[in-house]
Point group: C2
Chain length 211, copies 2
DNA sequence: GAGCAAACGGAACCTCGTTCCGAAACGATA
DNA sequence: TATCGTTTCGGAACGAGGTTCCGTTTGCTC
C-alpha cells in the first residue's frame, strides 16, 4: 500500500527528475518531454476549471493534444496529475499559516483565517474535496502531499491557540483537516449547502467548553 | 435536478407495486419475482456488510445466484437497491426523533442523541456516507429518501432546541444533515479519523454564541 | 548522417454500470 | 394434465473510464 517505488530505471542519478524545488534547473530530460509536461499541467488545470477534477484523463489528453501514454509517463496516475496541478496552491496555503499567526491579533483568529483559506481553496476547485478522502484507492499521492504539507501548519496553529487557552487542548490537526475537507465535499453542485457555514460551526465548536 | 418522476407506466393502478407500507400484502407479482426480490435484498445486505456499499452489482448478483437482468428489473439502478436495503433503518432513525424529544431532559440533548443515532448508522455501513453526497449522478433516489425522511425530523429537533434558547436560531436542517453526513465519509478505512468526534465538535458549535 | 535510447500516440485491456433480447418459468385456461 | 400468453430470468453486449503495452517517431550524441 505504501508507495515505495517511484522510479525504477538503473542508469541515471535518480535525483534530477522533478523540476520544481528551486528554479527550473536540472534539464536532465529531453526538451520535448519537459515541454509536454508543462503543456499537460496547463491543459489539466484548464480542464479542471471547466469540468472539475474528475474530468476523464482522455479529455485532458485531448486538450493538451497528446496521447494517453504521454500523460501516464509523466504522471503515473490521475492522482499524481492532480497533485502536480495544485501543488503550488497547497504550498501557498501552508506558507500562509505562520504569517497569519504572526499578524493576527490572537491565535484563534489566525486559525480561523487559515481554515478559511483552506476552505476557499477546496471549494473553488470543484470535486477536489471529494477526491481527497482516503477510501478511493490509488489516491495516496494526493493525500500524502496535502496532509504532509498542511497538517503540520494546522497543528502549529492549533497548539498556539490551545496555549493561549482559546480552544480545547486535545485537538488533533489531522482529524480537523479531514473534517474540514469532508465538510467541503459537494460544496459546489448543491446550492442549498454552504460548506463555509458548516466549517464555521465546526470551528466554533473548538472553543474551550467553559463552566 | 429535482426528482419528479418515479413511476411512469400507464396501465396499472400504480399504487400496488412497493411491498412495504404496512404488512406484506398486495401479491400482485409472480411468486418467483417476489422471492427473488427478497433474495436480492438479503444478498445485497450481506455483500454491503463485507465489501461496502460500493460493491459491484455483479458481486451482488453472484451472491444472490441470479443474473444481472434480475437485479435491474427489481431495482432500476444501484442506488435504488441501496435505498431498499437501508429503508428500514432510515425509517427507524426518523421515528426515533420524536421519541427522543419526548423523553430527553432538554431538546438539545435529544438533538445530540438523535445525531448520534444517525452517525452510528452511517459509520457502520462502510462507504454509505460517501455515496450520499449529491454530485454522484444517478443517486437522486438515495438522496431523496434519506433527506425526505430525516430532514423534517432534524428540523423539528432544531426548532425545539432553538425555541428553548439552547442553540443558534438560524440553523438549516438540510445543511446540518449534509454536514454531519459529510463528516462521516471515510470514517471507517481511516483509523486516525474519528467522525463521531468531529460531529461532536460541530454540534458543540451549534450553541448560541453568548457574550 | 547514423544509431540509439527516450518519448510518443493510441489501440487494447480491464472493471463497472446499464441495456437488450432470446430462453425459461409461471399460471390461467381448456 | 397439456397448452399458451405473459412475466421473469440470465447473461452477452455496450459504453465509459482508468491504465498498460508496444510499434513508431523524435531528440540528442558521435
Amino acid at each position: 500500500m505504501v508507495p515505495l517505488l517511484q522510479e525504477a530505471s538503473g542508469k541515471s542519478g535518480a535525483v534530477n527528475d522533478s523540476d520544481e524545488g528551486a528554479g527550473q534547473a536540472v534539464p536532465s530530460k529531453r526538451k520535448d518531454a519537459r515541454r509536454n509536461k508543462e503543456t499537460l499541467l496547463d491543459a489539466a488545470a484548464a480542464v479542471f476549471v471547466t469540468s472539475g477534477v474528475e474530468a476523464p484523463v482522455r479529455d485532458i489528453a485531448a486538450e493538451a493534444g497528446v496521447g494517453l501514454g504521454t500523460i501516464y509517463r509523466h504522471f503515473p496516475t490521475r492522482a499524481d496529475l492532480i497533485v502536480a496541478v495544485y501543488r503550488h496552491q497547497v504550498d501557498a496555503c501552508a506558507d500562509a499559516g505562520p504569517t497569519l499567526l504572526a499578524t493576527s491579533p490572537c491565535p484563534r483568529a489566525a486559525l480561523g483565517q487559515w481554515i478559511n483559506l483552506f476552505v476557499d481553496f477546496l471549494v473553488t476547485k470543484h470535486g477536489l474535496a471529494a477526491v481527497l478522502q482516503a477510501d478511493n484507492a490509488g489516491f495516496e499521492a494526493l493525500h500524502a502531499h496535502f496532509l504532509d504539507r498542511l497538517v503540520p501548519v494546522c497543528a502549529e496553529l492549533l497548539e498556539a491557540a490551545a496555549r493561549a487557552g482559546e480552544i480545547r487542548p486535545d485537538l488533533d490537526a489531522y482529524e480537523l483537516m479531514r473534517g474540514v475537507g469532508n465538510l467541503c465535499i459537494g460544496a459546489d453542485s448543491d446550492p442549498h449547502y454552504d460548506a463555509r457555514h458548516m466549517v464555521e460551526l465546526l470551528i466554533a465548536g473548538l472553543r474551550r467548553p467553559h463552566h
